[in-house]
Symmetry: C2
Subunit: 193 residues, 2 copies
DNA sequence: CTGATCATGTAAAAGGTTACATGATTGG
DNA sequence: CCAATCATGTAACCTTTTACATGATCAG
């Protein structure tokens, strides 16, 4: 089991759905799995090159007038094999880095207002995420209802909703005590004057 | 506002608590913020070197018998300034990559058993995380109760609990339908024989 | 006429992990 | 006696982002 980069698995998976160009892959990712996975051209094109050299994909060139040629990549049986191996393999624990929690941990080193602003910032990020999820669930998901992929796609959305909801709740709770904390300090200051 | 690497902020924050060696920093991180932040020696030592060159920290050498000398780093006023700037700065949106969701998205390309195993794997990871949180909350946190840092440290723990609980719930829900899905397919197979 | 979209890629830089090199002490 | 702990750091490697280079078309 050769340890291929995760980018290659993402690309193989998409190509297993249908043949695509590097450009298509980028656009497709942004419009579907973008909320939990992203890739840049600097990753996609070299990955396609490597995988072609390793016979996991083949390439066809489709000429166009005006626009540059499209390089269409197709997955090979060896590519599907590699994809299956990865899908069957056990999940490794992923390291996480949450910058806001680092700031919270050092919370006493800054004015409470700064920490409040940071938590509010996370809250806004998560709320706008939630709005997107709501929209996708109502207006985009129904069109896939009859595909066999539908329940799997829905489950990725559901994961996003669960985690985002949890983060929003934490932000609200945290803001409540931070503001209380702030109020107490302020009134103490006033008393001391 | 020069954009320093996040490692430097983590290190500055720890040094603002007390002077430490690179080794101490590594050990401290593992035993406190390890669940949302990790650093390797390959990051810490070069960061200390850079920051010393930039006068954000100073170094004292403490001789020991038997063991190698300890290089104790102390934060400077310029270092505290840099730390404050970061604490006050707005949070940037962080890109995320969740490998399990990538697998879920391609769920129809693998036997359901493989997907089930993956979700169970995540569930186990999250459950063992939750056990650690429970332990920390009951047996480690109380000793810090009177420190001004206490509520901030507790809030980082609470974040972990919220998100982990959400992920555990998602795993349970997802396993329920995956197993149902599997049962239906199996019985169909049996009928077709 | 200006900026977005279509379309390919490369190169440099940043960020991070793992392995290496060194070597005494301490606990099982 | 062997493995872990203490303690410093570097080097090679892998991954990822951002900037660059090129250039036509199309919508406002």
């Amino acid at each position: 089991m050769p340890r291929t980069s995760k980018t290659e698995y993402a690309v193989l998976g998409l190509l297993a759905m249908q043949p695509m160009s590097g450009y298509d892959i980028k656009t497709f990712i942004a419009g579907s799995i973008g909320f939990f996975w992203q890739e840049s051209y600097g990753q996609i094109y070299p990955a396609l090159k490597r995988m072609r050299a390793n016979r996991l994909v083949t390439r066809k060139i489709s000429k166009q007038k005006g626009h540059p040629d499209r390089h269409i990549y197709e997955i090979t049986p060896a590519g599907r094999e590699r994809l299956s191996e990865w899908l069957a393999a056990d999940l490794e624990a992923e390291p996480v880095r949450v910058e806001l929690l680092l700031k919270m941990f050092f919370g006493t080193m800054a004015p409470v207002e700064d920490i409040i602003r940071n938590v509010e910032c996370l809250l806004k990020q998560q709320q706008s995420r939630m709005k997107i999820f709501n929209n996708v669930r109502k207006h985009e998901m129904p069109q896939y209802q009859d595909l066999p992929e539908y329940p799997f796609w829905l489950s990725t959305l559901s994961f996003g909703e669960h985690v985002t909801r949890a983060r929003i709740r934490w932000c609200r709770e945290t803001l409540a005590w931070l503001k209380n904390h702030n109020r107490k300090k302020t009134s103490r200051k006033i008393r001391n004057q």
